[in-house]
């Protein structure tokens, strides 16, 4: 059975190849069957891996040696342990449900086969990332998911905003990946191996080594960990490389659900957890991870408070929740971070798919202030959306409560000095999260419809092919929390040390529940009871509102600092000097030179017979003098 796990990778790859090459020539039904069956096949096999891992087995298998060059041995192989099993389950199950949903959502789109091809390619890349047993496979999958993200965000590439968003995603990701690559290089030249098991054996030797850069001594392990974290910042959209994620909402909604909620953006969290032995050896890196995560969580929650586009609010919510996961990793509670990843996949995908359902009904409209009272016309969407909102707010009994509470408890109880700081930020963020999520619920689903009668007549519930995944995800959002993931992952990731007594756990739990309820209540007050309050607040705090509305002007700042100088440089130097003068100079100059030399030599041929005879005789004279006189 062990060797067959490679099929988990091959099914989506086959689906991709089929759909991209032959998809155009077969019916859309065939395309959707191929796309869905391939992911279902992966799901079946990943369930087998879960059963294997439950028995305590860890499977490592190399099926192809790719690079073999002196010390560098890189092979395609998989390492299946508890962490991989969880990730496989998340990716395959949620991915499968989203595939089914896409059949309904993308119905009638001219790029239908291309969509399913890219979606399968994405699943393949993500599985490669999580199943790999060395850093190169991780990087390979990392880059590949970035590429698929680009393809899928810019899916409707005829729209300029979509193709720009795709480019932005890829470029910002690439900036992070640059640091990631340098981290890998540094790791390789320190331990001469890239296989996880070998690396983890060897890194304790590196513990006190430092790297001398221009006279400064930097701890080697910290440097490596921070560089690798750069990639995670880019891929998982933390500060400062988060700017691509809101714009990525230009892609189709199922794409946002799969890639930017459940799987790709969580790759960074997976990476940190997978490399936990490395991060455990560096206090500084852990602090950076935790603080970045916590600050990002708070920051993006504040932006999400005032946005009007439903998908953007949910996007900022994603950034915020991933901040939670990184904060958990930073306080050495990797298990809690992965637990939150697991539950977040369900409820965030549900939120996105619900938004997609609403878009479907509202003919593409996303501004929540153009909606209202949708719950009467779209009951299933409303109920599932409400369940997701309750989960994310941390209402006890639902899965979000369990995972979020774990994180808050371990942050509070952590022995690290920044633990309490992280805890405070995350608790406030919990309140904000509950607030903005219920803002969507109350504004879009409750109250009166803010559009025309015509539009309201058009609002209808989505077809079953879209609502059944919603229901399944809602059930998942409720119940998956009861499976204690941190306990499951303990053999691998260890248990965090507590610095406070267990009694305080109840207090922390109470605080987080109160924070969630405060958020919901405020939203209720502002949007149901006293609808005029938001407007008054906006007018009173005009400047503050403006800053939040414009996302702290970060996009403008980046444009000024980075984008414009690069474009200026490209135009003035690269185009004018290198392209025109140097390259075209050579390309045009060599033929001109040849022509000139030719025209210098051409006059030798005069066409006159006697001159040719003279040349012949000169040759013979040379012959006679040289050879015969030897």
């Amino acid at each position: 059975m062990e060797k067959y796990y490679v099929l988990i990778l091959l099914f989506p790859l086959a689906g991709f190849l089929f759909n991209i090459l032959i998809g155009r020539f077969v019916s859309t039904k065939f395309v959707s069957w191929v796309g869905n069956l391939s992911v279902f096949g992966s799901l079946v096999f990943s369930l087998f891996t879960i059963s294997d891992v439950f028995q305590g087995k860890t499977i490592e298998y190399n099926f192809y040696t790719w690079i073999l060059s002196d010390d560098l041995k890189v092979s395609f192989g998989y390492l299946i342990d508890q962490l991989t099993a969880i990730m496989l389950f998340v990716v395959c199950f949620v991915g499968w449900l989203i595939h089914i949903y896409s059949v309904g959502y993308m119905h009638g789109d001219p790029g239908y086969p291309r969509y399913f091809a890219y979606l399968n390619l994405f699943v393949f890349s993500m599985l490669l990332l999580v199943m790999g047993n060395n850093l190169v496979m991780l990087y390979f999958g990392w880059e590949a998911v970035g590429l698929c993200s680009y393809f899928l965000i810019a899916f409707w590439y005829q729209k300029k905003s979509a193709s720009d968003a795709g480019k932005k995603a890829f470029i910002v990701n690439r900036i992070g990946d640059f640091g990631f690559a340098i981290g890998i290089f540094l790791l390789f030249i320190s331990v001469y191996t890239l296989n996880y098991t070998d690396v983890f054996q060897k890194i304790p030797e590196l513990q006190d080594k430092t790297l001398n850069i221009l006279g400064w001594h930097i701890d080697l392990i910290t440097l490596i960990a921070l560089l690798l974290f750069c990639g995670a910042i880019g891929k998982s959209a933390q500060i400062p490389l988060y700017v691509w994620l809101p714009d990525a909402m230009e892609g189709p909604t199922p794409v946002s659900a799969l890639i930017h909620a459940a799987t790709m953006v969580t790759a960074g969290v997976f990476m940190v957890s997978r490399l936990s032995p490395l991060y455990n050896l560096s206090e500084t890196a852990l602090a950076v991870v935790a603080i970045t995560g916590a600050v990002t969580a708070f920051y993006s929650a504040t932006i999400g408070l005032v946005q009007r586009d439903m998908k953007r609010i949910i996007a900022y919510s994603t950034i915020s929740q991933i901040g939670y996961m990184f904060a958990a990793s930073g306080v050495v509670a990797y298990g809690a971070g992965v637990f939150h990843l697991y539950t977040h996949a369900f409820f965030k995908a549900l939120l996105f798919l619900g938004a997609g359902s609403v878009m479907h009904a509202m003919a593409g409209e996303l501004d929540i202030y153009k909606m209202g009272g949708l719950r009467k016309k779209m009951p299933i969407t409303y109920i599932t959306f409400l369940i997701a909102a309750l989960t994310i707010a941390g209402i006890p009994g639902l899965s979000g409560f369990f995972s979020k509470d774990e994180i808050l408890w371990y942050a509070f109880a952590s022995a690290k000095p920044y633990g309490k700081f992280v805890w405070i930020l995350l608790t406030i963020t919990a309140a904000l999260t509950a607030f903005y999520t219920f803002r969507i619920v109350f504004v879009a689903f409750h109250g009166k419809f803010r559009g025309t009668e015509e539009e309201f007549k058009h609002v209808h519930e989505s077809p079953p092919i879209m609502t059944i995944p919603l229901i399944i995800l809602a059930v998942g959002s409720v119940f998956v929390g009861y499976f204690s993931v941190p306990h499951f992952l303990e053999p691998l990731l260890g248990e965090p040390k507590l610095a406070v007594s267990l009694q305080q756990e109840k207090i922390v739990m109470a605080v987080s529940i109160i924070a969630g309820l405060v958020g919901i209540a405020t939203a209720w007050y502002m949007y149901i009871l006293r609808p005029t309050v938001p407007e008054n607040l906006t007018n009173t705090f005009k400047g503050f509102y403006k800053v939040l509305w414009n996302k702290y002007y970060v996009d403008e700042l980046y444009s000024f600092l980075f984008v414009r100088p690069t474009l200026w440089f490209a135009d003035k130097f690269i185009e004018k000097i290198t392209d025109i003068k140097i390259i075209e100079g050579i390309v045009n100059g060599i033929p001109a030179l040849i022509y000139k030399i030719g025209s210098l030599i051409r006059p030798v041929q005069t066409g006159q017979l006697q001159q040719y005879a003279i040349f012949m005789i000169l040759g013979i004279i040379v012959f006679v003098l040289v050879i015969l006189n030897m």
Binding site: Q610, I617, I621, V624
Partner: protein
């Protein structure tokens, strides 16, 4: 034979051949050149006789003088060149030609003046023997030569043919 007479005759032939060849190349009139060529060829025949090659001498006279030279005269007649006396004889930069041929001669002279000759000379040449040699050892070149002559004949006719112009009767 008395060496002095031999040398005297040889020197006569040497000088006359040189003068004749210069006359060929330096005459204004083409016919003068042609006739100088005729005398030149006859002198060459005499040189062949010196070298005990009487068959060659006869062949030279018959073929060269009687054939090639007659052909030249015919060609000159056909080309109808009456205006020629007014035109320049020599090419521009003729000194270059002079210089080149002088250098050529000098280089050959350096080499040839040191050639040693043995005393074992051909005392007589037998035409009979020549014929036998031609038809046994040199049969292949002989046959090929006949083919070459045929081709030259046909080729010459074709190249020099008048191309039919529109309006001419075939």
């Amino acid at each position: 034979m008395n060496p002095i007479i031999e040398h005297a005759f040889f020197i006569y032939f040497f000088v006359s051949l040189c003068i004749l060849s210069i006359a060929v190349i330096a005459s204004k009139n083409i016919i003068h050149s042609a006739f100088s060529l005729l005398i030149f060829l006859l002198h060459i025949a005499a040189v062949f006789l010196f070298l005990n090659a009487e068959f060659l001498m006869i062949i030279q006279i018959i073929v060269y003088v009687g054939g090639v030279l007659a052909l030249f005269i015919f060609a000159i007649m056909v080309m109808n060149l009456r205006e020629e006396l007014r035109h320049k004889r020599f090419v521009r930069f003729s000194f270059l030609g002079l210089a080149v041929s002088l250098i050529f001669f000098a280089s050959l002279y350096i080499f040839l003046s040191n050639v040693k000759s043995n005393q074992n000379v051909l005392t007589y040449s037998d035409t009979n023997l020549l014929g036998k040699l031609l038809y046994s050892y040199y049969l292949l070149p002989f046959e090929i030569l006949s083919l070459v002559l045929l081709i030259a004949l046909i080729g010459g006719i074709i190249i020099a043919k008048k191309t039919p112009v529109d309006g001419d009767r075939r």
